[in-house]
Amino acid sequence: MLFLVFFVLPVVWLLLAATKTDDQLVHGNPLSFGSWHALAENWTALTSFQDNAIFLWLRNSAVYSFIALAITLCVAIPAGYALAMNHFRGRRTLLVATLVVMLMPNATLVVPLFLEVNAVHLIGSMWSIILPYSFYPFGVYLTYIYFSTSLPRDLVAAAELDGCSQFGVFRHIALPLAMPVVALVGFFSFVANWTNYFLPYVLLPESDQFPVQVGLGTLLNAVPQFNPTVGTAAVQRPELALATLLAITPVLLVFLFSQRFLVAGMLAGATKE
């Protein structure tokens, strides 16, 4: 139960902090509700920061994450399916490559990726973020495991007897059964994209292109208690708490919607509910 407190208390505190003035934050009971009025004040102050930058950042995050998510699904599901069902040349190499890349944290490649993107003059383009996000080997691996263990063989055989082509089997048999793994890959890739900090931090020089994670860093720099050199455009701590809350809300919503697939899909072969 102590651990439950450890996991949940900071989030609860964050919710409450957004409803307080900075003074209440320091002197009040940390687990008390401030006031709706203070929340409205914080909201006004936050949205006036750099001319409503917070919404621009949230929008950027949504654009990057959702486009990348769509591409990921279109790329990873067929690839994982083929790895499970087809014995094409180079299949094993591709599997090993997928595993190796999957186990290598992508942050290592951020600086080299910058060099690559720089070489093709795409620095500052949103595609320099979206395309690397779309490359999601873990999603391919999950799909491969799922179809290897959960695609009923007799269904496939029956479809083939009926004259279904490979593509027909994929469309009419595999895809309808793929919902759990689609939800799972979708959820994981969305969270990974939304919470990524290092890649956009390095690849996007302009503030108006920041995703919200990098934007939070900008806000942090404007909080006097954390950065005494800040000038007149100061941000109060409750505003930063509110911004953080806005940054995590979409992920929590997506999580709520896809929660029941998560455990199931994580365990290959245990996806039968």
Binding site: V100, F135, R153, L220, N227, L240, A270
Partner: protein, 306 residues
Amino acid sequence: MSTASTTARPVRSPSRRRRATWPGRGGHLFVAAYVVLLIAFGVVPTVYAVYFAFTDAGDNFAGLANFVAAAGDFRYLSAIGHVALYLVCWLVSLVVLVVGLALVLHRLRSGGVSRVLRFLYYIPGALAGAASVMVWLFVLDPTVSPVSFLMRALGFSTFGQVVAPGHLPVLFTLIAFWTGAGGWIVVMYGALNNISPDLLEAARIDGAGAWRTAWHIQIPLLRKWIVYMAILAFAGGTQLFVEPQLLSQASVGVAGRDYSLNQLSYDFAFQNNNVNTAAAISVELLLIGLVVAGVFVARSGFFDAD
């Protein structure tokens, strides 16, 4: 997971039979787009890293000069030390606590409660990145922290005292555990659910208590997942970047901008305009990742589905 009845769940073992498969051709079409991305964002950056690591600013072959330059930098050894220390804290706490909590959760067994708990444990996982660092900046600042009484009891009254360099490995472990452990607890819990109830029943009949059942049956059967988790956590841990970067912003330099290897690589590339030395550090991190991944792929039953 429907938890209405735990005994009636079909226990499935992955079929050992070869699935219906087709020969070649069509497969290539299915994987084409993925292969393009794999080359563009897996292979090419790696080649770039290696190329820059072994050349100088004038594109001439430089041998190991960049690696020597990186290793000779006064911040290099301390960065390795920081990351190593953090990794030890992180891996030990992760393995011990996650397995322990999953076992506890599994013993609770009452559907509704454990479902709510699983959800609550997982929430911080959705808060990775800068957001989780923000949350912890507040929690670690005694003037506003929800647990300020605890911090004052430990003798901290200012944020600066809390983020003293000696405390950083523990603090980063806290943050990483908070964001990373929940998801793993859920995974381990699922793996525990996959253990045949008959086995646990047999152990109970043989007189094994909760401890012995956990130690002799459940933990050995979780081994693959524990190893998997440790490997991923190790690889991820070498990547420390956002936490020290933001903490150094917030603490006005108490935590350095060059605390971790990735920060050092970043600094070389963008502060000193020395991409070659930065690439050398990337190559070193890549090698670590490659070795870890290689050992794992070779040793684990990752092709079980085949």
